[in-house]
């Protein structure tokens, strides 16, 4: 009896199909109290699906349910909704954010569990008419935010917040719950920089020390090695290995995940650096101001040469994400920007696109995709609107050429290894990482002169990441494509970029070579903090 109680969670023989395709087959695992349990696997391996099953998500029940049993603290449970799971003490930070945009951060943290004060009508008619205890809610939210070190007012509206912040709000919401036994983090660090991720890992460790069990899904091996006690690898819906971290190594895990060894993110022979110094200027940005909430750019200046891979890094909230969003006209901005010598007109919607700039947004579900449409439709859409590609004559007008669209989608699916049933599959039914690949495919289909990618490998597994990075390097080498890459992951930037700009406090703090020392990068990134300490 006591023996069984040691396990907070037991999953036994879980299987799941989505309309006939098996995505999980006979997966069993057990998690102990206070354990940090890493769940690993390639994109589409079934990690999120397994967690959705655990959490009783509606998408599981509306697609025919699953087989197998779930036990919480030794007792069999059957959650029909996330609410049931929450009652049982399970919290989940989803891969795709589940925040209500019109609500403030505090309201989002407290949603469904509002603190209330009795009012006159509530005394008569019951607790539904109690009024919100806002001061208490805000104070609680503040504590949760401080716990994870998020320095933003709890009364800010969530709409328009940068994705990194949304991630922290999601986490704050979960740790604010009181009776939590088990917390699931589905790729919580994908949009965070290393130092932010570090902070989060510390939060996780302190939660585990309090006896909360944690399931941690991530593609970053270093994080697993750093904090996890135990790990399980899924491949194509099957469990391939379960091991204590002490008995394994990063290299072995990587091999288990993709079935082959991966040493370097970009192999040296795949990225022969060419000198671009003599080339013409592809993009020149002078004094760019972007009014993006939480990611304001305040006077950014830089130049990118044609054929260069230019990285932009920096901590979340410092403004690196504001730069591409401003260029694309997503937020009001001003400054002197020239694309291949032509002046960018900020007041004209889509002006950057028509000048040959293509953009992969960091917010793939909000900005990057039409979730209800097919993979093929998403891939061709940008090229169809801006270049009038994929249309064929039909009487006096031009209509979508389904044949060409599908053929091209097929090529892209192969090229980027998008794991799907076919080009006709709804993008909303893809795993997170595969959705990211569709975003990239769509941008590449526009045949841009400059490709701007914001967090291009967010939520992508190491095998696919290598594939994408090497493909970007290949595009630059063979086709002279200019690439601007905004990323929270310094290692990723350093593996491929010719130069890396570090944004701090809305400005470019420094532009460094990829082989500059860690100390130099660290210094540039924390410049804002230091400046404010001095003043």
């Amino acid at each position: 009896m006591m023996e069984e109680q040691r396990y907070v969670l037991e999953l036994q023989h879980i299987s799941k199909e989505y309309s006939g395709n098996p995505v999980l087959q006979d997966v069993s695992l057990t998690v102990k109290k206070g354990q940090i349990y890493a769940l690993m696997g390639e994109n589409g391996a079934g990690k999120s699906t397994l967690m959705n099953i655990l959490f009783g998500m509606p998408v599981i029940h509306s697609t025919g349910g699953f087989t197998g049993t779930i036990k919480i603290s030794g007792e069999e449970v059957n959650f029909l909704s996330p609410h049931d799971a929450m009652e049982a003490g399970i919290g989940m930070v989803h891969q795709e954010f589940m925040l209500i945009p019109g609500f403030t951060i505090a309201e989002n943290i407290k949603v469904g569990r509002e603190d209330t004060l009795p009012t006159l009508p509530s005394r008569v008619f019951g607790p539904d008419l109690e009024r919100l205890n806002r001061p208490k809610m805000n104070a609680d939210a503040r504590v949760a935010l401080d716990n994870i070190g998020l320095d933003i007012s709890e009364e800010t509206k969530v709409a328009g917040l940068p994705v990194g912040y949304m991630q922290f709000v999601e986490i704050a919401r979960e740790i604010d719950k009181k009776n939590i036994k088990l917390l699931v983090f589905d790729e919580p660090t994908a949009v965070l920089t290393e130092s932010e991720a570090d902070q989060l890992l510390k939060v996780m460790q302190s939660l585990a020390a309090k006896g909360i069990a944690i399931i941690f899904i991530t593609h970053r091996l270093s994080e697993v090695m750093q904090v996890a006690d135990y790990m399980t690898v899924l491949r194509d819906g099957e469990l391939v290995a379960s091991k204590a971290i002490a008995d394994t190594s990063a290299v072995e895990i990587a091999e288990l995940m993709v079935g082959r060894a991966i040493e370097k993110l970009v192999d040296d022979d795949k990225n022969t650096k060419v000198s671009t110094e003599q080339n013409e200027v592809a993009l020149s940005v002078k004094d760019l101001y972007v009014d993006m909430p939480g990611e304001t750019a305040r006077g950014v200046t830089f130049e990118v040469k044609s054929g260069e891979i230019f990285g932009i890094g920096g901590l979340a909230g410092q403004g690196k994400v504001g730069i591409p969003n401003g260029l694309m006209g997503m937020f009001s901005s001003h400054g002197d920007v020239e694309i291949f010598g032509e002046k960018l007109n900020f007041t004209k919607l889509g002006n950057a696109l028509s000048k040959g700039l293509a953009f992969v947004s960091e917010d793939r579900r909000g900005v990057g995709l039409l979730l209800e449409e097919s993979i093929a439709h998403n891939i061709m859409f940008g090229a169809m609107t801006t270049k009038r590609d994929y249309l064929s004559n039909f009487g006096i007008t031009k209509l979508l050429s389904a044949g060409r669209m599908n053929r091209h989608a097929k090529d892209m699916i192969k090229l980027l290894d998008i794991r799907c049933v076919g080009g006709g599959q709804r993008v909303g039914a893809l795993s997170g990482g595969n959705q990211q690949k569709v975003c990239l495919a769509s941008a590449l289909t526009m045949k841009p002169r400059i490709l701007v990618v914001s967090e291009p490998t967010r939520g992508i597994d190491i095998g696919a990441k290598k594939l994408i990075m090497e493909y970007l390097a290949h595009l630059r080498q063979e086709e002279g494509l200019t690439i601007i890459m905004i990323s929270s992951e310094l290692a990723e930037l350093r593996s491929i970029c010719d130069r890396i700009a570090i944004v701090s406090d809305g400005k470019i703090e420094d532009i460094l070579a990829p082989d500059a020392s860690d100390a130099q990068f660290g210094l540039a990134m924390s410049a804002a903090a230091q400046n404010s300490e001095v003043s």
Partner: protein, 364 residues
């Protein structure tokens, strides 16, 4: 075998359980009608006729839903424009615009209805643009606003129908010498021309061929538009405005285009409806037509965010079919009172409520 069964299952799922139930209900009603001894071929002919009469009004929902303003509860606006077009066409005929054409000939009828359609298109497009500009100012509340704007338009046009200086004796009250009649007989104009042109008659069973072809033609035009570049742009703007903005699409313009096409179709739709009926109905008649159109497209499987031509054709058939068959059957069973009107309201409002609640739950 396994596979075929799986495919069948998937097919049934795509078609949707609610639609299967409604379809089954429709057939049960037909059976009941046969049992109480009603004339089935005649009933089915009536269903076909109403399908044709309502088709374009329901089609008007497609561009509005796709452009993101949701089901156009304000079709009354387009209907007002369409009625105005029809009235002007009557006026033109009265003052001899159709010249020496034989009033009983087929050319006369076709010219007359084309004229009405063109005028309806012109007036309702104009109103549609203004309506679109208005809806852009109330983003997020389109359904409520459009319902009330629709009602206000009915009221506004009630006044106009009394004041506008129409002269044709077909249209105005004969004794007062001014003010439009509540119902205007179209027998001298385009009443039933399309019902009758190439009509197929087998005993009591009648197919209004030209009317159905006209509906299909408009459906085809909208289908083509949906597959065109701007159609796809508009759909993207409707389903994800942020996505559209990042691709340089002017979302507000797409919404105006969608509203305008929707309103214009409503104008054409009322001309078709009136020709099928043989009368123009003014004043409060258009008040509830919006609800019926919305109900039809939703019953056909559209949601407040997605709609296709298929939803229009199926939904109109099911909705009008059930009303046409259910009411006489109900009257046969419970003869007293005006049960039919109550039943119609219950069915149409019930469907709207059901579909709206569904739309909320489904869109995560």
């Amino acid at each position: 075998m396994e596979r075929a069964l799986g495919a069948l299952k998937q097919g049934a799922k795509d078609f949707g359980l609610p639609r299967i139930i409604i379809l089954a209900f429709f057939f049960i009603l037909l059976l009941a009608a046969a049992l109480v001894g009603m004339d089935i071929p005649w009933l089915i002919s009536d269903v076909l006729l109403r399908w044709g009469m309502w088709g374009i009004l329901v089609l008007a929902m497609v561009p509005s839903i796709r452009s993101g303003i949701g089901p156009n509860f304000g079709v009354a606006i387009g209907i007002a424009g369409g009625l105005l077009g029809a009235l002007v066409s009557i006026e033109l005929r009265y003052f001899g615009f159709l010249g020496t054409l034989d009033p009983d000939g087929i050319t006369f009828g076709l010219v007359s209805i084309s004229l009405a359609v063109l005028l309806a298109l012109a007036f309702s497009s104009l109103l549609g643009i203004l309506y679109g500009l208005l809806l852009n100012r109330v983003k997020g509340n389109e359904m409520i606003v459009s319902t009330y704007v629709g009602f206000s338009f009915v009221a506004l046009f009630n006044i106009l129908w009394l004041l506008l200086p129409f002269r044709s004796s077909t249209s105005i009250w004969p004794i007062a010498g001014q003010g439009l009649r509540t119902t205007i007989n179209l027998v001298d104009d385009f009443g039933r021309v399309l019902n009758n042109l190439f009509r197929v008659e087998i005993g009591n069973f009648i197919i209004p061929t030209s009317l159905l072809l006209t509906v299909l033609l408009f459906c085809f035009v909208i289908w083509v538009f949906n597959k065109s570049r701007y159609g796809m742009v508009m759909t993207a703007a409707g389903s994800n405005p942020e996505y559209a903005k990042a691709r340089g699409i002017n979302v507000n313009r797409a919404r105006i285009v969608g509203t305008t096409i929707s309103t214009a179709l409503a104008g054409v739709g009322i001309v078709m409806f009136s020709q099928g009926l043989g009368f123009l109905q003014l004043y409060n008649a258009p008040m509830w037509m919006g609800f019926s159109s919305v109900a039809a497209v939703l019953i056909g499987g559209a949601t407040v965010k997605r709609a296709a031509i298929f939803n229009v054709l199926l939904g109109t058939l099911l909705f009008q079919g059930i009303l046409t068959v259910a009411l006489p059957v109900a009257n046969e069973l419970v003869p007293e009172g005006n049960l039919s009107e109550i039943l119609r309201l219950i069915i149409s409002n019930g469907i709207i409520l059901y579909a709206l609640s569904k739309a909320r739950g489904g869109s995560k």
